[in-house]
């Protein structure tokens, strides 16, 4: 009988009875004190075994937590690598934002220094100033290098450094508004801000088919290189512009070309060009050409 109870109680405590069987067992439990006594004991046994299971599991967990200690994970802002990466990103961002300004400064500095490394840089020499008054040619200049340096110094005095020209769309005429001359206009804005590299990039986009814009673009590229002090690069562009007979700014291109020749030690070419400009009273730079020839005379 007791063994029967034992099996029944086990099935009840382990939840293995069907609902109807369970209900019948609970009824019997109320009626039969012997069953109730046995049930109470077995229930205690189960509770005791539960405690044993928990004790065992606790001991295991303690052992595992000692064998596999948790490493304290620092908050993200304690990680040096994260901080370093963030700092680097910020620096890169700052550099990226400051780059155009630095580019401008570099262009200005290059324009200042490349033309003449030996002499003191002079950014604003007025064209109206009489260069002859400020130039002191050394009578003892004997060597070729010394002479070349003096010629370049003279050329630099005649070189303008600021970029301002009339609004080109007015000069070109409104009929070309729809053409790619917008690139020239944008480039002029960049050049006036001394962003020569950007200006040159824009100007190089003008296709050859846009003839008037193209010549003007070539001239402006030459002018940009000229202002940057890159006379050799400037020369070919300025030659293209000055060879176009009906180009509206041909005289200016010729003058700049002459300065380029002088600055790159091509004296005979410069002289030929200046001599062709000086007697022509209709030339926009004939006065400057005459004056420059006078200044150069002692050195030739």
């Amino acid at each position: 009988m007791k063994q029967d109870f034992y099996e029944q109680i086990e099935r009840y405590l382990l939840n293995k009875m069907s609902p109807s069987e369970r209900a019948a067992f609970e009824e019997e439990l109320c009626r039969n004190p012997e069953l109730a006594e046995q049930f109470a004991l077995q229930k205690r046994e189960h509770e005791a075994m539960d405690i044993l299971v928990q004790e065992r599991l606790r001991a295991q967990l303690r052992r595992w937590s000692v064998e596999h200690p948790l490493r304290e994970i620092a908050p993200w802002y304690h990680h040096r690598m994260v901080l370093a990466a963030a700092t680097l990103l910020l620096l890169l961002a700052a550099l990226y934002l400051a780059w155009p300004l630095a580019e401008q400064d570099r262009e200005i500095a290059r324009a200042d220094n490349a033309s003449d490394r030996d002499s003191t840089p002079s950014l604003t020499v007025k064209k109206e100033q009489s260069p002859s008054e400020t130039i002191a040619v050394s009578p003892t200049a004997s060597s070729g290098n010394e002479r070349y340096r003096q010629i370049r110094a003279i050329a630099r005095k005649y070189k303008y450094e600021t970029f301002s020209i009339p609004t080109p769309s007015v000069l070109r005429g409104e009929e070309e508004e729809e053409s790619t001359c917008w690139a020239v206009d944008s480039a002029l804005v960049a050049l006036e801000k001394r962003q020569y590299t950007r200006g040159i990039q824009l100007l190089k986009q003008v296709p050859e088919e846009e003839m008037k814009c193209f010549v003007e673009a070539r001239h402006l590229i030459g002018k940009a290189y000229y202002l940057k002090g890159k006379y050799k690069e400037a020369r070919s562009y300025l030659e293209q512009a000055s060879n176009i007979s009906d180009y509206w700014d041909k005289c200016e291109a010729e003058w700049e070309l002459a300065i380029c020749y002088l600055s790159s030690n091509e004296i005979p070419r410069a002289l030929r060009l200046l001599e062709s400009m000086a007697p022509d009273k209709g030339h926009c730079r004939h006065k400057e050409a005459r004056q420059l020839l006078k200044d150069l005379k002692p050195l030739l």
């Binding site: 046994e45 509770e47 075994m49 004790e55 599991l57 967990l61």
Partner: protein, 177 residues
Amino acid sequence: MGREAILHYLFVNSGWRMAAVRLIRSLGGSPQDAEDAVQEAFVVFDHHIRCDQYKQIGGLKSYFLGICRGRWYSNRRKVRRLVFSDNPTSHQPLPGDDPEDRLLESERRERFRAVLHQLDPRCRELLSLIRVNYSMKEIAQAFNLGNENNARQRVFQCRQRLAKLLKQNPFLNEDLP
């Protein structure tokens, strides 16, 4: 063995422990508080799964983290009770959180443990395995008992010893809360 391997995986490799520690740290617990609460929560979690209390609503991990949160609040209440305060509202017990009940439960469990320690360690181990549904074959292997019949006999002896101990300690016949 299967159960132990699963528990080991859940505790050591699953990342649950770390997630639970982070949770308790975020609730203001110290690292030691967190580790204690997580271990307690594992015990409760194991009990719930074995007793079919997990209703499969939500993920198992969420269920476990819920238990952790509960254990943490429960532990914190225990600690708070020891803090003396002039504020009378702090002495109001929460519903179902009568300090007297808790004390009695704690004392009863301690008595149970003391009685159970009178059993030999092999019996304790064997009974705990039986309770987590190890088969006689598995018990025979774990205890080098040869075959299932030997295991069954050994289990019977241990249960008899346990029953005898419980009969000798009638104060344990009160219901555990």
